[in-house]
């Protein structure tokens, strides 16, 4: 449950709170959850039902979290309503388990993701002052970017490497295109496409984590997102330098 939340872009405090509430709802005496971006440690103590005065039985589990690149808000929303339901009414354990499995099995609609990326990139190219042509070109490259993100996401390449690669390829393509069709504004197109790769979610979540007291996770994620942004910058910069040096003569 925590794994689903963490992998799909929830804040740390939400993950911890959800785990504790769920444990308490199923009769645990004491639930301790410790969550950072890469690991979940959960310890639950149950009282012996026949002899409640006797010592508590404790169970501890650890779960290593590897990737948190796939943001899928629908899952967070579903988990949220599931945990609300557990707290307000009684749900049998097998029912809980089956609805959890259902949520885990949900997959994002790839076409919708691409469509969203196309709209977003096109809109932001125009938003930052580009012409309609720039918007259309940015949208076209958004198709390529979402496809690449999808491919690389499946192969477990880490986010910095994939950001570097994607921004390098995009920068090269847009740069050369801009040299051929001089009406296009390369900067506006790239800004529109960069918006798809900028770790806005990670940065905001990390600052929120820090301010509600989850300093460790917040700092880990903040540094991570800076590195992602640097990788992005590095890719685009390299592409621009290559384009400039190739075209100059």
């Amino acid at each position: 449950m925590g794994e689903i939340l963490l992998e799909n872009g929830a804040e740390i405090s939400r993950v911890e709170d959800t785990l504790v509430w769920t444990g308490k709802a199923y009769g645990a005496k004491q639930v301790d959850a410790f969550v950072i971006t890469s690991i979940i440690i959960l310890s639950i103590e149950f009282a012996d039902p026949r002899n409640p005065e006797l010592e508590l039985e404790a169970l501890t589990g650890t779960r290593r979290i590897y990737s948190s690149t796939g943001t899928y808000f629908h899952k967070i929303e579903e988990i949220n309503s599931l945990s609300r339901k557990i707290c307000s009414e009684r749900i049998y354990l097998h029912e809980f388990r089956s609805s959890l499995n259902e949520i885990a099995a949900m997959t994002k609609n790839d076409n919708l993701v691409t469509f969203g990326g196309v709209i977003a990139a096109g809109s932001f190219a125009v938003f930052f002052g580009g012409s309609l042509n720039d918007g259309v070109v940015a949208s076209l490259f958004a198709v390529m970017i979402t496809a690449l993100q999808n491919k690389l996401g499946h192969t477990q390449v880490n986010t910095s490497a994939s950001n570097l690669l994607i921004s390098l390829i995009t920068g090269l393509c847009v740069g050369f295109l801009g040299k051929v069709f001089t009406v296009l504004h390369v900067d506006k197109i790239l800004i529109g496409d960069i918006m798809l790769l900028v770790p806005g979610l990670a940065m905001t979540n990390s600052v929120r984590n820090i301010l509600v007291g989850n300093t460790i996770s917040g700092i880990i994620r903040l540094i991570e997102s800076f590195i992602w942004a640097l990788a992005l910058a590095g890719g685009i910069m390299t592409a621009m330098i290559i384009v400039e040096t190739v075209i100059r003569p």
Partner: protein, 143 residues
């Protein structure tokens, strides 16, 4: 000028909607989330027009956006994160980040520094605004 403003507001809405789709938000909520993006940019433009101060405008926009998200979270029974991430997307400083990089590559270190500073100011303003509302919200719910 007016045409530019209308175009910006329109693209802020459609851009946020695009992100709502690609983050896989529940379909029924995507338009509400996108409206958050529209709202935050409208507030930004208004405050910027009045005070001519970017930090203040961005701060005000993120405060309003977070308030809107908390209200929406209550009404639509969904976590506030889902709404705020979409709502602040027009505020994410993609433009100044890009110009900071391109000026650095071209060797205009002064301009690069200017844009890098601007990027930082925006990030700071966004997170300050969000945290401000979150803190108030926490205080109220702890009582």
């Amino acid at each position: 000028m007016t045409r530019e403003i209308i175009l910006q507001l329109l693209t802020a809405f459609t851009g946020s909607f695009g992100f709502a789709l690609s983050f896989g938000i529940r379909t029924a909520h995507s338009l509400y989330a996108a409206f958050g993006g529209f709202l935050s940019w409208a507030v930004y433009l208004t405050v910027h027009g009045l005070s001519n101060n970017e930090f203040l405008a961005c701060l005000a926009a993120s405060i309003i956006a977070m308030t809107y998200s908390e209200i929406m979270a209550r009404l639509r029974k969904s976590p506030a994160t889902v709404f705020i991430i979409i709502a602040i997307i027009p505020l994410v400083p993609g433009g100044s980040l890009y110009y900071a990089m391109s000026n650095a590559v071209m060797g205009n270190s002064e301009m690069a520094e200017f844009y890098a500073n601007q990027t930082l100011i925006w990030v700071l303003a966004i997170s300050a605004g969000i945290s401000f509302v979150t803190a108030i919200h926490e205080l109220r719910s702890r009582k």
